[in-house]
Symmetry: C2
């Protein structure tokens, strides 16, 4: 059994965030001591890991709430959960795609600046000229 602070240290979340997740029904019921202090079990910590994974995938809290509600209902909700996770997957693919597009553009912008920095006479370069140069470079590489 772990105290709130210990769990905070293990997971990298704050105790406030843990309480927030619990309040939002993202957690199963957490055991309490006689003094009503929370006592997290190993499986609670794994549960938090699961939430952290979903948050990493930018799954909104209200959607995690949905998923958790199904999970707590047990085996009969597997189809619905499969459906939800499939949505997460589609979303993930879109996000990765977007980031990779941005990655390519950023990469070419970076090497463009590196080329420019080899010249010494950029003092007079206006933002319009830079943009045109950058676009021109892009076309050469196509």
């Amino acid at each position: 059994m772990y105290s709130a602070k210990e769990v905070a240290k293990i997971t990298g979340l704050t105790t406030a965030t843990l309480r927030y997740y619990e309040k939002e029904n993202l957690m199963p019921p957490i055991a309490r001591s006689i003094q009503f202090y929370r006592q997290y079990s190993d499986s609670d910590i794994e549960w938090i890991n699961m939430i952290q994974c979903l948050r990493l995938a930018n799954v909104p809290i209200r959607s995690i709430k949905q998923y958790v509600a199904l999970l707590l209902q047990g085996g009969k909700t597997i189809k619905e959960r499969h459906c939800l996770v499939d949505e997460y997957m589609k979303n993930l693919k879109i996000q990765i795609d977007n980031l990779q597009k941005a990655f390519l553009l950023t990469q070419s912008k970076l090497s463009f600046y590196e080329k420019l920095m080899q010249n010494s006479d950029n003092e007079s370069l206006s933002y319009v000229e830079e943009w045109q140069l950058f676009k021109g470079q892009g076309k050469k590489n196509e």
Copy 2:
């Protein structure tokens, strides 16, 4: 020259967002008609595309503001801009990494559910059992 509404249609942003970006100094000065209506040029639209690319990479508004301020100062700020774009790049790499981790986990969760759905007797499966099954499956695949 394009009207606010036209630009909204072209870029997929709302006119309100366009005004917001302008107010936050993410845009160079936009030309105005006699009636003080905004008249966006082709290069304004490309500028918006650039902002959209940065937003796609989850670059916060205040950082875009910084970048744009340097851009408007012209060629002497190339080193600083290179530095900023390099930060964007580092951040992008982290984000892509995180999403790919989530992707792998989601993928295995998905195929786990698909396996479970072939069984018909999941009615009695509690959330604890599911989690244990899922973890067990993971180990087999390692």
